[in-house]
Symmetry: C4
Amino acid sequence: MSQKENSSNISTLLRKIKSKPLDRELGFGRNVTLDGRLMNPDGSFNVFREPIGRWDNTYYHLVTMPWRHFFLLIFSFFLLLNVLFSGLYLLIGVEHFNGVTLGSPGHNFMQAFFFSSQTLTTVGYGHISPNGLVISLLASFESFLGLLAFALMTGLLYGRFSRPAAKIVFSEKLLISPYKVGKGLMFRMGNASKSELIETEVQVLMAYNQREEDGSLSRKFYPLGLEINKISFFSLSWTIVHPLDENSPIFNFSEQDILDANAEIMVLVKGTDETAQQLVHARRSYSGEEIVWNARFSPVIERAPNGVPRVLTRRIGEHELLSIESV
Amino acid sequence: MSQKENSSNISTLLRKIKSKPLDRELGFGRNVTLDGRLMNPDGSFNVFREPIGRWDNTYYHLVTMPWRHFFLLIFSFFLLLNVLFSGLYLLIGVEHFNGVTLGSPGHNFMQAFFFSSQTLTTVGYGHISPNGLVISLLASFESFLGLLAFALMTGLLYGRFSRPAAKIVFSEKLLISPYKVGKGLMFRMGNASKSELIETEVQVLMAYNQREEDGSLSRKFYPLGLEINKISFFSLSWTIVHPLDENSPIFNFSEQDILDANAEIMVLVKGTDETAQQLVHARRSYSGEEIVWNARFSPVIERAPNGVPRVLTRRIGEHELLSIESV
Amino acid sequence: MSQKENSSNISTLLRKIKSKPLDRELGFGRNVTLDGRLMNPDGSFNVFREPIGRWDNTYYHLVTMPWRHFFLLIFSFFLLLNVLFSGLYLLIGVEHFNGVTLGSPGHNFMQAFFFSSQTLTTVGYGHISPNGLVISLLASFESFLGLLAFALMTGLLYGRFSRPAAKIVFSEKLLISPYKVGKGLMFRMGNASKSELIETEVQVLMAYNQREEDGSLSRKFYPLGLEINKISFFSLSWTIVHPLDENSPIFNFSEQDILDANAEIMVLVKGTDETAQQLVHARRSYSGEEIVWNARFSPVIERAPNGVPRVLTRRIGEHELLSIESV
Amino acid sequence: MSQKENSSNISTLLRKIKSKPLDRELGFGRNVTLDGRLMNPDGSFNVFREPIGRWDNTYYHLVTMPWRHFFLLIFSFFLLLNVLFSGLYLLIGVEHFNGVTLGSPGHNFMQAFFFSSQTLTTVGYGHISPNGLVISLLASFESFLGLLAFALMTGLLYGRFSRPAAKIVFSEKLLISPYKVGKGLMFRMGNASKSELIETEVQVLMAYNQREEDGSLSRKFYPLGLEINKISFFSLSWTIVHPLDENSPIFNFSEQDILDANAEIMVLVKGTDETAQQLVHARRSYSGEEIVWNARFSPVIERAPNGVPRVLTRRIGEHELLSIESV
């Protein structure tokens, strides 16, 4: 790996840094990868956790999967249950239904299928009805299952609705921009939700490889100090600034230094969603390659014709490169 | 804009003020309007946020729209689905129904419509029933959709019920009233909910235009200090007082000064609703025009015949003007 | 009122007290009653709040009313809706039903009623079915209303289930018991819920009438200092002790002094219910008459035959009177 | 009890300990057992709380029972209700049903049972339908009950889904391992949930019998200081370390000392589940017998073939014994 060879010169840099690394406070083991990301760009952790029980993560998956998949899944489940019960009715014999004209196996199966679906959804027109002990018991059980499945579906739907989520858009890049008399590492967030986000707080962590006294490489985590890390309302957009002064763990790092150290910048946002009145979190991870040096974010708030300020969340990442002299 | 011309004399006033403005802590960009309100009188922000996805704000709208609109919407949705499926049944042919007498197109449509509504609601009397493969499959799918739509409706209804909301009434005006040896800026809130509001906290912010050293106008935000900003229980009414002493950012402002500065006073309330045990927020915004000088709130708590104190929330804003000498 | 005459000697006592009253921090107006209780014994506030909108408190009532009333209410609502629609069907004419034999008005009404109930619950046997445009439309609308009412009922039931509530039993009396070298004002709480109560915190306030410098009576609120006011787990029982030392606002008060001052002791408990993981609150109010002087709580925790300690919540208030000398 | 005789030598040890016991802060009475555990190994408290009302703990049980039991219970309830109503229909007389052929009592019961189940689930085919006042009224009531029962079931299912729970696995043993220049008492936890656990915090308490000045035994609670007690993310695994230095209440205790003192180590974990955005708790209790002296945890995090680190939650407790010299 290239960063192993190149990072010896970083260790020299690091001795001058005032800020201290976090001491194993992140809940990852010591085997943390030197060459991989801890966090995926979308903020999910790049780890795998072995579940204990078979059903342990079922609810998690059902509640977090995309809506399209969810609807497809429950429709498939509805079809599957219907086919299963149709098969059972066929086994018992379609002649035990009132209102069914016997015919080809396909015809019989469809009759059983229609009866099953009318039972499962409790629509029960009654032009087909069970006639006989076993088939009536099975139909009775199927309608009970129908109610149960429907109650589960209602619960899942509400679970999905009410899942608190911050709809925050992040700029795709981190910028190194002029800031006060020096420079700052900046990214921008926009609020894309109708709901207000109250008491929003941001924490930024940086991970990079550092050469130890004994020459081995180890991955260290540094908190990055921010100009402002909390705002009362996150109403439109917010540019978060880490001043690149002598307190920064990457003070005086060159573009190459950051690439060599295999840096990862992790952003953790938390706030209170006003509509749900619940704490929500958002995360984003940037790699060293996603830093644009010497650029500035373009304006993202404009006045609508009716005078109301509005944020163009789709253009949250727009920036312009600056000429060398401006830095 | 008139405030631009008149506010030069304000900048002189402002140099004498001890309190310091908030430094961009509000999550609005730098383009914040000089002449518009940040907050509407009802406490919603006067901003527009571009959504990212098409469905992003659907749940928000469905949960926050007035009940009347909500019921109208779901009834329309029920009608629309019925009409849609009626059309499909007509296309397949009403002759595939048992129990239907063919007639005029209008008659046929109504038969299809009744079958559809009996399927969607799963009432399924059965005097009309599907007869044929395609129409039976369609009816089966419609009854599944009916269950799904109903599960969605249940979830939305609960989402609406359980949405935490503070039912706080605010006085329509801010008063400048006698307070201790000087004056105070006051407003009054009443609790109109059956549920107790615990550990209620109030924050008041003021925004106004201020002339910078370079002569340009910029909008600054000041926190207004309060006599008491937290109470254990917000049981009946509460008069919130900002003492107009030398610590106030508007100390010595005249009525005209405040109008010229295009002032906006924003009230942020938070507390815990005891029934839902959830944090709730309320907001209110007042413009400079909504300040009544030299007035006093009328009593709003009275004893019911049974001796129980009660708050007249409808009269929370009642006040009387004072003669000049009393201030 | 007797306490007005007798409380002049209290004002002398009060001058010796070190603790300071709370300054209007309770959210009651200045008109707070001198002779009434602020809190009912069950912890609800003895106040009335005028609602703003007509439906404002409907959800609150539906969620907090006793289960018996709730079931009665929804059953009555079901009957009412049925009777209403039965009337409408009668108006249109029962002859528009298939499967109905006409008869006496009573007979006709019952037929309409059964059809209505089969429609509202979507059971739809179909032995009675609508025949005609108007009656079919009305039945379609009724089945829609049925689904809606049922969705509302589901939401309300879940709202009732999930309402966080601390199941805490309080001793019926406050005791003045020997405590360390002096005396203490004590009450006892027991946890009667299966769920653990975590990080439980208690606050005790006392209100009593105090004569001002100008001779007028006013009601003051004092916090009562507690030996321990927070525990990690409220697992079985907890005796809360206010030491009656020189820091107590009622140090040296006699039994008569407390009665004369029309004292009220308010207990506010909060903790986290572990099953729901929600903050829950409980309150209790004691009047001066509910103080038992010179008594001690009887043991309330015993070992079950299997060695498990258990709390006898029904006997949480049991105490024994002590002979004079023991105090 | 053996620990009573052997613990006199412990009291000598204890005089040298710097840390102070917790003073009744745990919410257990004074009768706390000297020989029993306060907490079961799974973290539930080893206590019994007498409920007040008959239905008080019903919701708690329905929401916390295993899924298998829950499904069995509601199915039994469905059967029971059906049998009950079948009996009532039999009493009124099956001849009041349309579409029923009379026969043996068993046959008649089954016809009543099928009608009942079709009514309760609102499937209502209609091949059997009520004919007569009393039986129609009863069927109407049953369908209402069916809807109610189903609404309850929906509420319970959602209550079960949404119950916040930390899926944390604990090592089965506590280890005494080499730590820095001395030793540490350690256990290991793994996160087995798909959901992230944020701001996870651990508290460890130790209870043991201690001989008082007067020779009597009493059970004391000591907090155990931890190397790190809070992490930002509990992503994979976490080894919690209590350094056995002079600040430890069990500094210099031998294996026998701990057994004699009948020690119990209680672990309390709390964190925020990211998917539900709710606080969750987990607990674990270890007895003195569950301490392994001079051992070290085996690695539990490995790299998957795709480079992603993963935690083997099933092997969270794996450890290896160390040779004597290593400690």
